[in-house]
Symmetry: C2
Subunit: 200 residues, 2 copies
């Protein structure tokens, strides 16, 4: 009596159908536009069926988040295996991290909670330029005062800002509150390294 096996197989098929449909919808319209109703429509079932396979919408998103981290880890691992020295491995991993994020934007946005507003609105905020102006002018002055005056200030500005934002947002994600002084240590460590390489 393989009837029970068939049932759990069918159930599994429906589950993956839900995930496939959801993924397809995300690829075309993005996370913000994903809805239970659209998924139900795509798989040609009624809405409550989805709740037989996932507790709620967040559970579906969590599934993709998990998937994303697994894919990323695999990607980084093969990159690491392509090099021998640790230093070279770190560079390869960095490249792989970058490639993954851009080849799988949808995953990355979900994994790190990158909301929508930014990409569409933040660009047209003139108030932001006041901040970038302060940063670039300081970077320029530092370059002029250091031993790498020929370096690209715009590139260095981006590096500086990215380090800052990365530190902040990564630590905002991790709520397992490390003490503030340790967080600041990480900041100062990153900054001293950057400034050293900046000034030459």
């Amino acid at each position: 009596m393989g009837v029970l096996e068939r049932k759990i197989r069918q159930k599994e098929e429906l589950r993956t159908a839900i995930l496939d449909a959801a993924w397809q919808l995300v690829l075309t319209d993005g996370w913000q536009s994903l809805s239970i109703r659209k998924i139900a429509d795509a798989i040609e079932y009624s809405i409550p069926v989805i709740y037989n396979h996932f507790e709620n919408k967040d559970a579906i998103l969590l599934e993709f988040t998990r998937e994303g981290f697994l894919k990323l880890a695999a990607h980084l691992m093969t990159a690491k295996d392509g090099a021998n020295t640790p230093a070279e491995q770190l560079e390869r991993i960095a490249d792989a991290y970058w490639d993954f994020a851009y080849a799988n934007k949808e995953y990355y946005q979900l994994m790190f909670g990158l909301g929508i507003p930014a990409c569409e609105t933040v660009n047209q905020i003139p108030e932001m330029q006041e901040m970038t102006r302060i940063l670039t002018s300081t970077i320029k002055a530092a370059l002029a005062a250091g031993n790498n005056p020929e370096a690209d200030y715009f590139l260095k500005f981006h590096t500086y800002w990215s380090i800052l934002h990365g530190l902040v947002s990564i630590q905002m994600i991790e709520k397992d509150g490390k003490p503030d002084d340790i967080k600041k240590m990480i900041l100062h460590d990153a900054m001293s390294g950057f400034i050293k390489s900046l000034m030459g």
Copy 2:
């Protein structure tokens, strides 16, 4: 006949009342929970009144985004003024940037589109540990092979990851597509600086 003046003053008051009420709601319940209806309820007006002052909900958020960037710029400026050499200014600015982000989490989250899911769910994703394991082991190996074997690998791991994530997410926000090779240059620049300071 100051009647017209009174009218535009009242209109202005209502506008700020909307923003004040919205901000209060955000402080207590976060951005995700903010709704037009709650704002209308708080200011004791009907819903459409809000649309007389803001085109839509995004316009309200945009207002706060602008405000946030202005506050950040001012904060960074005073930090910069507190130091003389460019190198020291860059450090002070980094500190100020950090302080602002944590003293004004709501602003920062809005400004950079940091969604909610992360802080509540990402933490409990065991799949993430596979990735961190790869990174930390490589960092450890690099430290062992370099001239700073006594350095804190966990701190360095965090720095490494933050740089990567910062570069990715900042450049995802800026949709004015710089060519990919320039983006990669920024990445390599940041990485070479980090690795140099890592290996000593």
